[in-house]
C-alpha cells in the first residue's frame, strides 16, 4: 500500500518556497490542477478496490485538505505583507488641508428667532404688519391723537402717500400690529409682532432703522401680575439665567395704563456684562395694561376684556446678550463683523435644545 510519504515531503518542501501569489498559484496547479499530482492520484483510485481504495481515498483527502489550508494561509500571509507594503508607500501629508467656508445668520435674525421660540412655547403666535403704516394705526388708534406730546418723542418719517387725508408714515414702533391684529381677531389674543421700525434719528445710540418686538395679550383676566409673570419667564429664558433681578417702574405710553418700564440688574466683570445679577439697572423694555381707549378703537368691549402689551428693542437684546457694543454696526455690512457676530445656519433656536 502506498503511504504517500514522498508526496507529503514534496508538499512541505514546495510550500516553504512561496514568495508571491504566482508561486502559490503554481503550487496549487502542481498538486491540485487537472493534471496535478493529487488529482492524478485521485483518478487512480478508480483502479483500486475495496479497503485499499477506501484507505487511499482517506489519505489523499487529508493531504488535499492540508494543501488547501496551506494555500489559504499562505495567501492571507502574502496579502497582508503586500498590503503592509502598499500602506507604507501610501502616506499623505495630513498637515495639509483645504478649507470650507460657511454662511452666517445675522444677530438680528437670531434674536428674533429666539424671541419667537420662547413666546411660541407660551402660545403667542407671530403677527405682522407693513412697514409703511397709516397715521391712524401708528398713532391715533393707539390713543395718541394728532397733537399728543408723545408724538414729538417719535421722530417720524413721512412718505408722500396718504390714507384718509393723513400722510402715511414709516411705523415708529411695532404697536400698530396690535391694531391690525385686533381688528382681524376677537379675544382671546396672544401675539408677538417682531419687525422693522423707523425713527428720524441718527447718532451714536440711534439708528434710523431698528427692530422691535411687540407683545399683546387680551382676554378676560390678564392683569399686571400676568404681565410680570410673562416678562419674567421671557427674560430668564432669553438671557439663559436662573437669577434675574427685575424692576418695574412707572412710565407713560399713551396706549397703556398703567404703564411700566422694566429694568434688569447687571454687574460688570471686566469688559463683560453679567445680566441678571447686581444692583445696577439696565432699561430693557416698556409695557403696561392696554388702555381701554385702544380696545374701544378696535371694537373690543373694554368692560369685558382687558390685557397687557409690551415692546422691546431687538438690537438692545442682542447687544446685551451677545456683548455687541455699538448699535450702528448691525447695519454696517462689514463682513468681518458679520462673520464674527453671525450664527451658524444649523443653529436653530430651540426650547428643548439650545436657545443660542
Amino acid at each position: 500500500m502506498k503511504d504517500f510519504r514522498e508526496l507529503e515531503t514534496e508538499i512541505k518542501k514546495a510550500s516553504d518556497k512561496f514568495t508571491n501569489i504566482e508561486s502559490i498559484n503554481e503550487f496549487r496547479i502542481k498538486f491540485l490542477g487537472k493534471k496535478g499530482i493529487i488529482s492524478l492520484e485521485m483518478k487512480e483510485l478508480a483502479s483500486l478496490s475495496g479497503d485499499e481504495r477506501k484507505q487511499h481515498a482517506e489519505k489523499l483527502n487529508k493531504i488535499k485538505d492540508t494543501v488547501l489550508e496551506i494555500i489559504a494561509s499562505k495567501t492571507e500571509e502574502l496579502n497582508s505583507e503586500e498590503l503592509e507594503k502598499k500602506l507604507n508607500s501610501e502616506t499623505l501629508d495630513i498637515t495639509l488641508s483645504t478649507s470650507k467656508s460657511y454662511g452666517t445668520i445675522h444677530p438680528i435674525s437670531q434674536v428674533i428667532e429666539e424671541v419667537i421660540t420662547i413666546f411660541g412655547d407660551l402660545d403667542f403666535f407671530v403677527a405682522e404688519g407693513p412697514e409703511v403704516e397709516t397715521d391712524y394705526n401708528n398713532f391715533t388708534a393707539l390713543n395718541t391723537s394728532e397733537h399728543h406730546p408723545a408724538r414729538q418723542m417719535h421722530d417720524t418719517f413721512y412718505v408722500e402717500t396718504e390714507t384718509d387725508g393723513m400722510p402715511n408714515v414709516l411705523r415708529t414702533h411695532t404697536s400698530p400690529v396690535q391694531i391690525r391684529s385686533m381688528l382681524k381677531q376677537k379675544p382671546p389674543i396672544r401675539l408677538i409682532a417682531p419687525g422693522k421700525t423707523f425713527r428720524c434719528d441718527n447718532d451714536q445710540t440711534h439708528s434710523p432703522m431698528f427692530h422691535q418686538v411687540e407683545g399683546l395679550v387680551i382676554d378676560q383676566e390678564s392683569n399686571m401680575s400676568h404681565l410680570k409673570g410673562c416678562l419674567e419667564i421671557f427674560l430668564k429664558t432669553f438671557f439663559e439665567t436662573d437669577k434675574l433681578n427685575m424692576r418695574f417702574r412707572p412710565s407713560h405710553f399713551p396706549f397703556t395704563e398703567p404703564s411700566a418700564e422694566v429694568d434688569i440688574g447687571y454687574t460688570k466683570k471686566g469688559n463683560q456684562l453679567i445680566i441678571g445679577e447686581g444692583e445696577d439697572w439696565l432699561e430693557i423694555l416698556g409695557c403696561g395694561m392696554v388702555h381701554p381707549n385702544v380696545l374701544e378703537n378696535v371694537n373690543i368691549n373694554s368692560n369685558e376684556y382687558q390685557g397687557y402689551a409690551f415692546g422691546m428693542g431687538i438690537e438692545r437684546l442682542a447687544m446685551l446678550k451677545y456683548g455687541i457694543s455699538d448699535l450702528r454696526t448691525f447695519f454696517d455690512s462689514d463682513l468681518r463683523w458679520n462673520k464674527h457676530y453671525g450664527f451658524s445656519p444649523l443653529n436653530i433656536p430651540s426650547i428643548i435644545g439650545d436657545l443660542s
Binding site: 467656508s101 454662511g103 399686571m224 401680575s225 419667564i233 424692576r247 407713560h252 395704563e257 445656519p345
Partner: protein, 795 residues
C-alpha cells in the same frame, strides 16, 4: 426737569434721607436720570486774594502771583489777562480736580517757576462758557470762604425725566406734592401776600378768540427798577442751568420752575393801546426773543396791541416789548392758552420753549392768579414800584374731572386685592376727593392733574403710590392652546429660506430699508418711493430692490480687502409708499473668487451657474416634491440680457431671477467684479403646504439599470434644456434620468454649432431590458431630440 435739593425742601418738609427720596422719585414714575452733588465737586475751591502780581521771567504772557488763601500765602503762575493785584479770586489748591476736564492740580514748575494751585475761570469750573479771564469775586468776600457757598452750589442737583402725562411735575412744587403723597413728608405752602393793587391797569385786555386763549390775567407795575437779580435768585436759576438775565425776567422763570406757571413780562411803555389776544393773520410776521423772524399763519395765537404783534401766546415773547434794565413800567401776563393750538403752532414754527412745553401738556388753570400773586410779591420786593389791580379777560374754567371706579375694577386690573379703604386712602393722598355710594367710588380730580380721565388712570395712581414692586407674579401658561399655529406658512418659508441660504455659504446682511435714489431708476419708479423727511440725501427713498444696498456692501468690503463675496438679505422691498406695496424677497450675491488657488485647487470664480444652482436648490428645499421649474430669458433690465434667466414654477408667475448684473448698473455702482445674483420673490411661490404627513408612495425596481450616452450637434441658439426634455418625454416610465455630461463648442462642428452629450438612465419595473428594447428606445430618443432641436446625432 432739573431742580436742586434745597429748592425741593422749600416745598417739602421731610426727614427722609436724600437716597430715600432719590429711590422714591423713580418708583413713583419721576425717573432720576442724573444727580450732581455740586457741593462735593466744588468743596476744595476757596476765595483767595492776589497780593502781588509781576511778570514771569521766562514767558511774556504768564504772571507770577502771590495769593493769600487765609491759612497761608502761595505762589501761583497765572496766564489770565485780567489778573491784578488786590483781586478776589477762586483758588483751586494742589490736589483739587478741575470740573471741566477732570484735571488734577499738582505742584509744578511752569517755565522754571514753582506754582502751587490755580486761579479759575467760570469755564474751568463748569459754570459757564466764560473763559476769557478768571473769576473776579466781589471785594467783600472773605478770604478762605468756600466758593460753592458763594455761588449757591452747596447743593445736589437732580435731573428727572418727566413723561408727557405728568404735566403737574414740571414745577418743583408738583414734585414735592407727589413725594408728599408717596409718604416722603409734608407739602409746605409758600406764604404769598395777595396785593390788591392801588390803581386800575391802564392797559386793557381783549380776547378775540377764546378757543385759543380762554383767560388772560394782566397786572400793570409802575416805577419799577429792573436790576440784576439778588444772589439767591441768580443762584437758584444757575443751579438748574438757566442764565440769569434781569430781575423781571428771572422772576418769571422762577415762578415757571417753581409753580409750573409760565408768565410773561412786557415793557408796558412799548405797548400801543390795549392788548388783543387773537388769531394771527396770514402773512403777519414778528421778531421773537430768540432774534428770529417768524412768519405767521391764520389760527396761531398771537398777543398783539393795536399796531403790532407782541408775542406768540404760550410760546415766546417778542423783541419789541422785551424788558431791559431801562424798563420803568411793566405788564405781567398770566394766561391760559389752548394745548392743541400751542402744540400745532410750536411745531409749525419749530420753536421749542419752556412755555410751549408746559402749555401743550396742560397747565393747572388755578395757577393763573396764584402765579400773578407770587410774581407780584417778588417784583415789589426786588424791583419796587406799585402794582395795579389784576385785569382778567376771559374765564378761568374749573376743569375738574370726575371719575367713578370701584375697588373690584382696580383689583382686577392690577392682579391683587385692593380694598375700598386702601383705594380711598391712596387717591386722597394725591388730593383726589372721594365719595362712596355702594361699591362705586366717585373721584374728583384736582385741577393740577390733567392726565386722569378714566378708571384705568386711577389704577395707575394706586399702583404708582403703592409701588410697582408690590405687583405679584402670576403664571401665564394656559391649560389649552389658543393658537393653532405659532408661525404661518409664509413666515416659516422665510425662516427656512434664511437658514438654507446661509447653509450654502452666504452671509446674511441686514441693510437699511432706505436707499439712494441716485442709481435706482433701473430698479423701480423712484418717484413713488420718496421719503418726505429723509435722514440724509443718500437715504431718500424706500428701496425698490434689495440689490442697491447689497451692492454698496460689496463695494465697502472690497475696500476692506475681501475678494470673495457670498452675501444675502431677506427683507422687504417696495413698489410704492403705500402700506400694501411691500414684498418679501430673498436676494443673494456670489461674486469674486469661488475657490482659491491652493496646493490642491486651481483658482475659480463664481458664475451664474453657482447662483442658479443655489436658487433652484432653495426652491427645492422650500417646495419639496414634484414641480415644474421653467427658465426663460425675460429678465428685468438690471440683468445682463444674455446671461440671466427668470424662473417660473408650475407655469405660474415669475418667482425669481438669476444672472449677472448688467455691466451698466455695475459701473453706476462703481463695481468692476462680475456680480452673480439670484432673487426669489417669496410671496410668489405657490403654496405647497403639506396636507398630509405621508410621503409619496415609493416604487423600487430591482431590475438592472442601463445607461446609454448620446451626443447631438445643434445650433448654439437652441437651449440645452431642449435636448434633455425631448429625450425625457420619449418614455416617462423607462427613462429614469437624463443628464448633460458634456458641452463642446468648436468650429470643426460648423459655425454656430455646439455638441451636447447626454447620459440616459433606463430601468424597467417589470424586467431586465433586452438589447432590442434598448436599441428601440435609443432610436426613439435620437428621433425625438433631432426633431425638436433640428440637430443631428453624432456617431
Amino acid at each position: 426737569m432739573r431742580f436742586s435739593y434745597s429748592w425741593l425742601t422749600e416745598h417739602l418738609k421731610t426727614n427722609a434721607h436724600f437716597e430715600e427720596i432719590e429711590k422714591k422719585l423713580t418708583s413713583i414714575g419721576l425717573e432720576v436720570e442724573d444727580i450732581q452733588d455740586t457741593g462735593k465737586a466744588y468743596q476744595d475751591f476757596i476765595v483767595g486774594q492776589v497780593l502781588e502780581e509781576k511778570k514771569h521771567p521766562n514767558a511774556d504772557k504768564l504772571k507770577l502771583c502771590k495769593v493769600d488763601i487765609g491759612k497761608e500765602k502761595v505762589d501761583v503762575v497765572c496766564g489770565a489777562p485780567n489778573v491784578e493785584k488786590g483781586m478776589k479770586v477762586v483758588y483751586a489748591p494742589v490736589g483739587s480736580t478741575i470740573p471741566v476736564n477732570q484735571m488734577k492740580i499738582k505742584a509744578a514748575k511752569i517755565r522754571g517757576v514753582e506754582s502751587y494751585g490755580m486761579m479759575c475761570s467760570e469755564y474751568e469750573l463748569g459754570i459757564s462758557n466764560e473763559h476769557d479771564g478768571i473769576i473776579r469775586l466781589e471785594e467783600k468776600e472773605t478770604i478762605g470762604r468756600s466758593f460753592s457757598e458763594i455761588y449757591g452750589l452747596n447743593d445736589i442737583v437732580i435731573e428727572i425725566g418727566i413723561t408727557p402725562n405728568r404735566q403737574d411735575c414740571l414745577g418743583v412744587k408738583g414734585i414735592a406734592r407727589d413725594l408728599a403723597s408717596a409718604g416722603m413728608g409734608e407739602l409746605l405752602e409758600r406764604k404769598i401776600s395777595r396785593e390788591k393793587g392801588s390803581f386800575k391797569s391802564p392797559i386793557k385786555i381783549e380776547i378775540q378768540d377764546n378757543k385759543i386763549c380762554s383767560a388772560f390775567a394782566g397786572r400793570y407795575f409802575r416805577n419799577v427798577k429792573n436790576t440784576e437779580s439778588p444772589e439767591w435768585l441768580k443762584n437758584k436759576l444757575k443751579s438748574i442751568g438757566l442764565r440769569p438775565i434781569s430781575a423781571l425776567v428771572d422772576i418769571t422763570n422762577f415762578v415757571m420752575y417753581d409753580e409750573n406757571r409760565p408768565l410773561h413780562v412786557y415793557d408796558a411803555d412799548k405797548i400801543d393801546g390795549k392788548i388783543i389776544v387773537r388769531s394771527a393773520n396770514d402773512g403777519e410776521s414778528f421778531l421773537a426773543l430768540d432774534e428770529k423772524d417768524y412768519h405767521l399763519k391764520n389760527g396761531m395765537c398771537v398777543i398783539a396791541d393795536e399796531k403790532k404783534v407782541l408775542g406768540l401766546g404760550g410760546i415766546m415773547g417778542g423783541e419789541s416789548t422785551g424788558c431791559s434794565f431801562e424798563t420803568k413800567n411793566v405788564l405781567l401776563e398770566s394766561a391760559l392758552f389752548d394745548e392743541i393750538n400751542t402744540a400745532k403752532t410750536g411745531r409749525n414754527l419749530s420753536i421749542l420753549s419752556d412755555a410751549r412745553y408746559r402749555f401743550e401738556r396742560g397747565i393747572d388753570p388755578n395757577s393763573t392768579l396764584k402765579g400773578i400773586d407770587l410774581a407780584t410779591q417778588l417784583i415789589l420786593e426786588i424791583c419796587g414800584g406799585e402794582c395795579s389791580e389784576v385785569e382778567l379777560a376771559g374765564y378761568i374754567k374749573e376743569n375738574k374731572n370726575e371719575v367713578s371706579t370701584s375697588s373690584s375694577y382696580i383689583s382686577r386690573r392690577l392682579g391683587f386685592e385692593v380694598s375700598d379703604k386702601e383705594l380711598i386712602s391712596i387717591v386722597s393722598s394725591l388730593g383726589i376727593e372721594t365719595s362712596q355710594t355702594g361699591d362705586v367710588i366717585k373721584c374728583l380730580i384736582p385741577s393740577w392733574r390733567q392726565d386722569i380721565h378714566g378708571e384705568a388712570d386711577i389704577s395707575e395712581e394706586v399702583i404708582r403710590i403703592k409701588g410697582y414692586e408690590n405687583i405679584p407674579t402670576s403664571n401665564i401658561r394656559l391649560k389649552s392652546k389658543i393658537n393653532k399655529n405659532i408661525l404661518n406658512y409664509a413666515q416659516k418659508k422665510l425662516m427656512k429660506a434664511r437658514h438654507f441660504i446661509a447653509s450654502i455659504e452666504y452671509d446674511e446682511l441686514v441693510t437699511f430699508s432706505f436707499t439712494d435714489s441716485k442709481n435706482c431708476e433701473v430698479f423701480g419708479d423712484i418717484n413713488k418711493l420718496k421719503i418726505v423727511n429723509p435722514i440724509s440725501e443718500d437715504l431718500d427713498i424706500l428701496r425698490p430692490n434689495l440689490l442697491p444696498n447689497l451692492l454698496q456692501a460689496i463695494k465697502k468690503n472690497k475696500n476692506r480687502n475681501f475678494d470673495s463675496f457670498s452675501i444675502f438679505e431677506i427683507g422687504s422691498q417696495y413698489r410704492s409708499t403705500s402700506p400694501e406695496d411691500q414684498l418679501n424677497v430673498a436676494c443673494g450675491i456670489k461674486s469674486g473668487i469661488k475657490t482659491k488657488k491652493s496646493w490642491k485647487n486651481i483658482q475659480t470664480e463664481f458664475d451664474i451657474y453657482d447662483v442658479k444652482q443655489d436658487l433652484t436648490s432653495l426652491i427645492d428645499y422650500l417646495m419639496p416634491g414634484n414641480k415644474k421649474i421653467s427658465v426663460s430669458n425675460d429678465c428685468p433690465s438690471w440683468y445682463h440680457p444674455g446671461r440671466s434667466g427668470s424662473i417660473k414654477i408650475n407655469n405660474s408667475g415669475i418667482a425669481g431671477y438669476f444672472g449677472e448684473l448688467h455691466p451698466r448698473v455695475a459701473s453706476q455702482f462703481k463695481i468692476k467684479n462680475k456680480i452673480n445674483i439670484f432673487e426669489l420673490y417669496l410671496d410668489e411661490l405657490p403654496n405647497t403646504e403639506k396636507k398630509t404627513t405621508n410621503k409619496p408612495v415609493l416604487n423600487l425596481s430591482d431590475f438592472q439599470i442601463v445607461t446609454r450616452d448620446f451626443a447631438f450637434v445643434i445650433d448654439k441658439k437652441v437651449k440645452s434644456e431642449e435636448v434633455v426634455t425631448s429625450a425625457f418625454k420619449v418614455d416617462k416610465e423607462l427613462i429614469r434620468n437624463v443628464e448633460i455630461f458634456d458641452l463642446f463648442e468648436d468650429d470643426s462642428l460648423g459655425k454656430d454649432k455646439k455638441s451636447i452629450a447626454i447620459k440616459v438612465t433606463l430601468q424597467s419595473n417589470e424586467k431586465t431590458l433586452a438589447e432590442n428594447d434598448i436599441s428601440e428606445i435609443s432610436s426613439k430618443i435620437i428621433e425625438s431630440v433631432e426633431k425638436s432641436t433640428s440637430g443631428t446625432v453624432r456617431s
